[in-house]
């Protein structure tokens, strides 16, 4: 893989809508079994090694809680 990516989710602001999960082409994201202070199952990198930093998840996030990082290898 020529690039690697990673996301940081603001766990306390995430509402667990799941739109990022449905739009991640590499199946990196899942909703956690843990809940945040509001009782939502927040998004997290379930498969961190597969993220390409494509920004799809953050682009569709209604609450702007995802920050995306990417490095060229």
């Amino acid at each position: 893989m020529a690039v690697r990516g990673a996301i940081v989710v603001d766990n306390e602001k995430c509402k667990g809508c799941g739109v990022c999960v449905a739009n991640c082409p590499t199946k990196t994201i899942a909703l956690s079994h843990e809940v945040n202070g509001k009782g939502y199952n927040y998004a997290y990198m379930a498969n961190p090694e597969s993220c390409t930093g494509c920004t799809n998840c953050a682009t569709v996030c209604p609450d702007s809680v995802i920050t995306v990082y990417r490095v060229k290898l």
Partner: protein, 253 residues
């Protein structure tokens, strides 16, 4: 490579624009309003017009939009945002002025105001969120509700004989001489979000060219009102809404 070596400021490729405040949006999880707020904020940031933009928020779920975009705002009476925006723009022609309105606000109680503002060709931007329902008040039928669609006030589905037909206001507004740009977009996946952002940017740019009114409809979801989870609501929108509300530019002069 370790994750912590990737998560460094110099590797950041996407994050929240500073034009959005740090307030937690009150919208339901997955609501399209949040995505559209973000796009308007990104356009304002990229155009460098944060100090020159005045928004007019509606009555509806987006009534509190002024808590989320760090710009100047006024809040209009139900449906009257285009009238208020007319005054703001005429008094401040050097400012970028936009209204942000739902389909209940714009196509129902505010139908007269939007018609006449567009017919006068006011140099404003209108962002119209069509989720085919009254979200804020608990999911009642809107003029835009699809035939057969179940809402709180059409429990057996919208029936044309009783309730009339879904109103395609955007097509009507495109026929008025005062509009210069009329488009219909959506925000359910990355490609549509990027297209919608370009449309919003074009609308803001137009508003300084004295060309008339720019009208951007965003077909969106109200997953709470539709009684579906957010991902299912996006699918339902693609399968049902786009046939009645086809995407793309209707007018661009």
């Amino acid at each position: 490579m370790d994750i912590k070596d990737i998560i460094k400021e110099e590797n950041k490729v996407y994050g929240k624009t500073p034009v959005l405040t740090d307030n937690v949006m009150h919208y339901c999880p997955g609501c399209s309003h949040g995505v559209v707020h973000k796009l308007i904020a990104e356009v304002i940031e990229e155009m460098g017009i944060q100090d020159k933009t005045i928004g007019v928020s509606p009555v509806g779920c987006a009534v509190l939009a002024y808590n989320y975009l760090d710009i100047d705002w006024e809040e209009a009476a139900h449906g009257r945002a285009p009238a208020l925006a007319t005054a703001i723009k005429r008094l401040n022609p050097d400012k970028y002025v936009f209204t942000y309105q739902g389909d209940g606000d714009l196509a129902s109680i505010g139908c007269g105001e939007i018609m006449h503002a567009c017919n006068r060709g006011e140099n404003i931007v209108v962002i119209f969120i069509n989720n085919a329902i009254y979200g804020m008040t608990g999911g009642q039928m809107a003029p835009t509700t699809l035939l057969g669609m179940v809402t709180a006030t059409t429990p057996y589905g919208r029936n044309a004989e009783l309730n009339g037909y879904p109103l395609r206001l955007t097509e009507l507004l495109a026929q008025l001489d005062g509009t210069c740009y009329v488009t219909r977009q959506s925000v359910q996946n990355p490609a549509s979000v990027r297209k919608a952002k370009k449309a919003i940017q074009k609308a803001f740019e137009n508003s300084m060219k004295k060309k008339g009114t720019s009208f951007v409809e965003i077909v969106g979801t109200c997953n709470s009102g539709w009684k579906m989870n957010p991902v299912k609501a996006n699918q339902w929108m693609e399968e049902n809404m786009f046939a009645k509300y086809p995407l793309g530019d209707i007018k661009d002069i």
